[in-house]
């Protein structure tokens, strides 16, 4: 029903009004064989331009926001000289990066060194293809959407490795090794934590995942999603694991060991200056934004309004989906910045141990519980014919209780493990990360 309100402007192929308009009014002179194709290509190019515009502007102002926000946390003002409230600061930074001299170390493997800087950006842009801006405003609603995101994002480690190796600098290579080891370690909890969500949504497509979160109180069948509302309600532990793993994936503080400036200068981009250094920053910010957007799609209902009954979902003829999507994404980005402003960096061994010994077992257990509970609840409402709000309430309460039990068991288990003293170098309490798991309850 809402689909009719919002034409599929970004959707590729037939049905896109922009494409229809081009076909009927602009491309009339072309031969029949080429007309649809040219219309497609034009629509896609315009869509790309739109996405790039939105992402670039968001990225530029994220840098400013981050400096302001972290500044406030640390009792500073942050940039305030260039433009009112520092609003032109990002552009000043950009000009500085562009005009700085580019220095290539004499011993570097030139082609690998340069290609590393170039190739680090495209994957960070390509992941935006599957992120919806609003209802019907998703450029490419792939049936393998989430997996596409994860796999394209995982490609970034290759240019990082190229940068580290091509620089022929010890610190750069150590940074690259650390970056890759950390990224791959945290990729596993990241993908495992989301499996529960996908199981409940019954699809990998981002559009379907969001729609599956809008079935609170409805009589929707399981094939259209699990009637538990936003997945943060049914999968709170998975949400926290996802956030932590994502922070590590994009190598932000407290997981920024790959570029720990007090230990290894700047990690894999030590030798890069000027615009090439800027490209690494660009890629990192893009990935941060994309991961936050994906988090809001997976757990926070994407473009859905947070109010019951779809209140404020539309304002007159306007669908406010893009506003809610943006707000939720911004919320998660602010969360990342908050982490950066307040947490100390972890140690390498703590970092790796935390991924493999805490997050992976926890997400595996969460997955099993989700599958079992999902199957039981599914059978229950099929048998009893339960519907509506009552069913949603039962689902949410059951999942919250299961998550609470899981958390309790996990704390007990990890506590006992530590008490046995078998592994003296894992001190969860020293990292403070254990307490954030606790905070998820």
């Amino acid at each position: 029903m809402m689909m009719e309100l919002m034409p599929v402007w970004l959707q590729a192929g037939a049905g896109n009004p922009l494409r229809e308009f081009l076909l009927e009014n602009i491309l009339t002179g072309l031969s029949e064989a080429w007309r649809p194709l040219v219309a497609d290509l034009l629509t896609w190019s315009l869509t790309c331009a739109l996405i790039m515009g939105i992402v670039q502007v968001t990225m530029l102002y994220c840098t400013l926001l981050e400096r302001k926000f972290v500044g406030r946390i640390q009792d500073r003002i942050g940039p305030n000289r260039v433009g009112y409230w520092g609003l032109l600061q990002p552009f000043a930074d950009m000009v500085k990066m562009l005009t700085k001299e580019d220095i290539t170390p004499a011993v570097a493997h030139r082609s690998v060194y340069n290609l590393g800087a170039i190739l680090v950006v495209p994957p960070a842009i390509m992941v935006f293809a599957i992120l919806p801006l609003s209802l019907g405003l998703v450029a490419s609603d792939l049936s393998v959407g989430f997996l596409y995101f994860i796999s394209v994002a995982s490609v970034v480690i290759v240019p990082i490795f190229m940068a580290g190796w091509g620089s022929r600098n010890k610190f750069a290579l150590i940074g690259a090794m650390r970056a890759v080891a950390q990224t791959v370690s945290y990729e596993i909890p990241q993908v495992l934590s989301v499996v529960g969500v996908l199981l409940l949504a019954g699809s990998l497509s981002t559009g379907d995942i969001i729609l599956a979160q809008g079935t609170v109180g409805s009589g929707a069948q399981a094939s259209q999603g699990f009637p538990g509302g936003w997945f943060i309600l049914t999968q709170p532990i998975a949400f926290v694991i996802y956030l932590m793993a994502t922070t590590a994936e994009v190598e932000r503080t407290p997981f920024d060991i790959p570029e720990a400036e007090s230990e290894i200068i700047a990690g894999y981009h030590t030798e890069y200056a000027g615009i090439k250094f800027g490209l690494f920053q660009l890629s990192q910010y893009f990935m941060t934004i994309a991961s936050a957007a994906l988090g809001s799609v997976l757990f926070l209902g994407g473009w859905m309004s947070p109010f019951p009954g779809g209140l404020l979902q539309t304002l007159g003829p306007l669908n406010l989906g893009f506003f809610w999507m943006g707000a939720k994404t911004l919320l998660l980005i602010l969360g990342f910045m908050w982490l950066r402003g307040t947490w100390p960096r972890l140690r390498s061994d703590q970092l790796m141990g935390f991924a493999w010994k805490v997050l992976v077992p926890l997400s595996l257990a969460n997955l099993l519980i989700t599958a079992l509970l999902g199957w039981l609840l599914h059978g229950w409402w099929n048998a009893s014919g339960a519907q509506g709000l009552g069913r949603s309430a039962v689902v949410v309460v059951a999942f919250l209780a299961a998550n609470g039990l899981l958390l309790f068991g996990a704390m007990l288990g990890f506590g006992r493990l530590r008490a046995k003293g078998g592994r003296p170098d894992i001190r969860f309490e020293a990292t403070g990360v254990g307490s954030s798991v606790e905070g998820a309850a």
């Binding site: 950006v121 390509m126 199981l199 019954g202 800027g278 490209l279 061994d349 997955l367």
Partner: protein
């Protein structure tokens, strides 16, 4: 389906032009005065000792190893998860066995100290 991937093909091309535009702009604007001191390897002002392509310890490989096997596991996990709610309980049992076998691997790696960062 075809349309969706078509868009991604276009986006890929656009994504590759972005860094190239940046590099081209910078190439037009920036100064270029290389010197032997400037082009030395950055090491906090010290001379680099030995080759920079150093040998790493096996720990890195062990992490990558466990990662690869769990990555492959997720390949099988995703189709299962998506199909799960339409399947009989047998599917859950199968997956529990699958995960159980891999969990044995994780426990083994843990016990053998392959997860320790030394």
């Amino acid at each position: 389906m075809v349309d969706n991937w078509g868009f991604i093909a276009v986006l890929t091309l656009v994504a590759f032009t972005v860094p190239l535009i940046g590099l081209a702009l910078s190439w037009l604007l920036r100064p270029h005065r290389p010197g032997p001191i400037k082009q030395t390897t950055y090491e906090c002002g010290l001379e680099t000792i030995g080759d920079s392509w150093v040998q790493f310890k096996v720990q890195y490989y062990l992490y990558a190893l466990i990662f690869v096997l769990f990555d492959v596991e997720t390949v099988f996990l995703y189709p299962w998860a998506v199909a799960f709610l339409g399947l009989p309980l047998f599917a859950l049992v199968e997956m529990v066995i699958f995960l159980g076998i891999l969990a044995i691997g994780l426990i083994y790696a843990w016990r053998k100290g392959a997860l320790e960062w030394v």
